[in-house]
């Protein structure tokens, strides 16, 4: 059976199922209890599972995340919600120095299975401190998985795998997707981390993306189709582990690659994927693989400025044309 649900409903269901399935699961966060989450992602959960297991937190990100690590190490499976991804900067030590390293540095005596759920991204004009897309930092922190679903079905399937993993997982949602809809199979098997999926088949150029950027890549692809360009769109779904093989396979057919993300291009994870593809598939490439990412500035408030700075379908389409040599490349 399949049902249509919104993205945020999928997030809610995924958490409800995790709570129902496993006594060790609990949630911590700000406004997640009776209030139901500022984006309604935990609505009804406190009522159903108790304030004990759906715990409201004072504003104290470092200790919220750190207490998550401590609880995980003692056998619990915490879900910790960081209200805006920007606030993760207030709790980096708990994630980077503790959660990610516990298992390795203890010689596998300690494990910190926890899901750090957060949301981010532009488009709602929250300004520079409430709109960042920071997943690239965490690729660079060995010991963490990084997941970014683009559709409701993946939210649920990837969440199942995330809760079950014996490593900490950063589970990142894009705010602008919450109201999008999609079909969800019921029952649904877990979707393994590290398996990308081809969202659209094409012949001329591969665009690899994640999260909201997948939707933008699809918009760009439809537009480019009218120009006679056939674009293949890959949704990576997780960045750690990353399905480089799927991209290599696709590039072996299209021979061109664009990597798209909303994160700032400079220092962003597109560099990782491109380096991997270049190292392992250089001879397949007919043209330079290009990145479509946001410009290197903080995120401005005004609409007119945000569109200049944030990577969108227009930039993705432009990069595809540049890759094909139809227009000249410019940074």
């Amino acid at each position: 059976m399949t049902r249509e649900v919104t993205f945020v409903e999928a997030v809610r269901e995924a958490q409800a199922e995790a709570l129902a399935d496993d006594d060790r699961v609990f949630i911590m966060g700000q406004e997640i209890g009776e209030y139901g989450g500022v984006f309604r992602a935990t609505q009804g959960l406190a009522e159903r599972f108790g304030a004990h297991r759906v715990r409201d937190m004072p504003i104290a990100e470092q200790s919220m995340l750190g207490a998550g690590v401590g609880a995980a190490v003692m056998g619990m499976r915490p879900i910790v919600e960081v209200m805006f991804m920007d606030f993760i900067a207030c709790g980096m030590d708990a994630i980077v120095n503790h959660a990610a390293k516990m298992r390795y540095m203890s010689g596998d005596q300690l494990r910190a299975p926890m899901v750090i759920r957060t949301q981010g991204g532009s488009g709602t004009h929250h300004g520079s401190q409430h709109s960042q897309t920071l997943e690239s930092w965490f690729l660079h922190v060995p010991g963490l998985a990084v997941v970014m679903p683009s559709v409701p079905q993946d939210v649920k399937g990837l969440f199942k795998s995330s809760v079950a993993l014996d490593h900490p997982v950063l589970f990142i949602e894009h705010r602008a997707l919450y109201r999008t809809r999609g079909m969800v199979a019921d029952p649904l098997a877990p979707i393994p981390l590290g398996q990308g999926v081809v969202r659209r088949w094409g012949e001329d150029v591969t665009v690899a993306a994640i999260g909201k950027s997948v939707h933008q890549a699809l918009v760009a692809a439809r537009q480019l189709e009218e120009e006679g360009i056939s674009v293949e769109v890959i949704d990576l779904r997780s960045l750690v582990p990353m399905d480089v093989d799927l991209v290599l396979e696709s590039v072996s057919r299209t021979h061109q690659l664009v990597v798209a993300h909303e994160a700032v291009e400079r220092g962003g994870w597109a560099g990782e994927l491109i380096s991997r593809v270049v190292a392992e598939g250089f001879d397949e490439l007919d043209a330079p693989p290009l990145r479509a990412g946001s410009r290197a500035t903080p995120i401005p408030f005004a609409r007119e400025l945000e569109t200049v700075m944030i990577c969108d379908e227009r930039l993705i389409a432009r990069r595809v044309r540049e890759c094909l040599g139809l227009v000249e490349y410019s940074v």
Partner: protein, 345 residues
């Protein structure tokens, strides 16, 4: 405190009595008519500004998150009226009132909320990031704790450069659990920095009441652990806030170190525009709180001094100013795209 008893209590700090000492607010007598009128003008302006902005937001003229400071005018104005114009203030997500109270102009504030090129930050900031350095409004940080960081640093700069200015950090009651609160209060205390930490205890951090976030809902006594002076003031009473701040600022300026000033007030509106406040507080509670209006309290306090005609004139002038600010924002062009790429590295 609305029963007319002690409006200011020193509850902790070096030499503070174990049972709260009561400060009597500087009498109205010590305040000039001009100052009283200015206080009223600012309070009224903030009140009406928030009303008008909310209306325009619903109409789609401005966009993005919106946090109204309605009901808290007494704190913003009472504190800023006690400052010199070159003293500096830092603020939070709920900062329109602080900016106005510190003297920033309505036109560029409004234009910033509209995302226009004539806004204080050229449209790069928005409602949560207003800055007006010319008025000593160093700006807002909507990251809980950010206001304390900036004010502590500003006070450190004053201390290092033997500058007699004072820094004020506005923060909410929700900030008290954040590690930065603890760290900055400690730093300010050991370095005797010229800073006043003003906690606007408006009863809520979004849906949470203080008693859900800490065992003791009173905040000023926290000063004790830092060897700092802690003062509670009735935030509905702008004159009490003014007096309490005067004392804290004088102390800071004289090298006496920081004060933690808790102003008890009430958040009239939802946390933000669109907040589902019915989920966590009964309508009646809000209605009851709104009956104790800082503007009304001020009106009766000055009734013997300032005529109601005079106040009405001020109100009318403020309405005009707000309307002009909206018109200014409306007719201002959006920022040019090139500016998006300027000002960073």
């Amino acid at each position: 405190m609305s029963d007319g008893t002690s409006a200011i209590s020193v509850v902790s700090g070096p030499g503070a009595p174990r049972s709260a000492e009561t400060l009597s607010p500087e009498g109205l007598d010590s305040m000039s008519d001009a100052l009283l009128v200015e206080i009223f003008r600012l309070m009224y302006t903030i009140r009406r500004f928030e009303v008008v902005m909310e209306r325009n937001h619903l109409a789609g003229d401005l966009y993005g998150p919106f946090h109204s400071s309605m009901g808290q005018e007494g704190v913003a104005v009472g504190v800023c009226a006690a400052l010199e114009s070159d003293d500096v203030v830092t603020s939070t997500h709920r900062g329109h009132g602080h900016a106005i109270a510190k003297g920033a102009e309505l036109g560029p504030i409004c234009a910033e909320l509209w995302g226009r090129s004539t806004g204080y930050c050229g449209g790069k900031g928005g409602s949560m990031h207003i800055v007006s350095m010319a008025h000593g409004f160093v700006g807002q940080s909507p990251i809980i704790g950010g206001s304390e960081l900036l004010a502590t640093g500003a006070a450190l700069a004053f201390d290092l450069s033997r500058d007699s200015r004072v820094a004020v950090s506005f923060m909410g009651d929700g900030a008290v659990g954040q590690g930065v609160f603890h760290e900055t209060l400690n730093l300010a205390a050991i370095w005797r920095l010229p800073v006043v930490f003003v906690v606007e205890n408006n009863g809520f951090a979004h849906s949470f009441r203080a008693e859900q976030m800490q065992l003791n809902p009173d905040i000023a006594p926290r000063a004790d652990g830092y060897g700092m002076r802690g003062v509670v003031v009735d935030g509905i009473d702008v004159l009490a806030v003014y007096s309490a701040t005067k004392a804290a600022v004088a102390r800071a300026r004289a090298g006496g170190g920081p004060t933690l000033l808790e102003a008890k007030c009430y958040r009239w509106r939802g946390h933000n525009l669109g907040d589902a406040e019915h989920l966590y507080r009964p309508r009646e509670e809000v209605e009851k709180a709104r009956r104790d209006d800082p503007l009304d309290r001020f009106r009766s306090a000055v009734s013997g001094r300032i005529s109601s005609e005079h106040l009405a004139d001020i109100e009318a002038a403020a309405e005009v100013e707000i309307a002009e600010a909206v018109a200014f924002a409306d007719r201002s062009p959006p920022p040019g795209p090139r500016s998006a790429l300027e000002g960073s590295l």
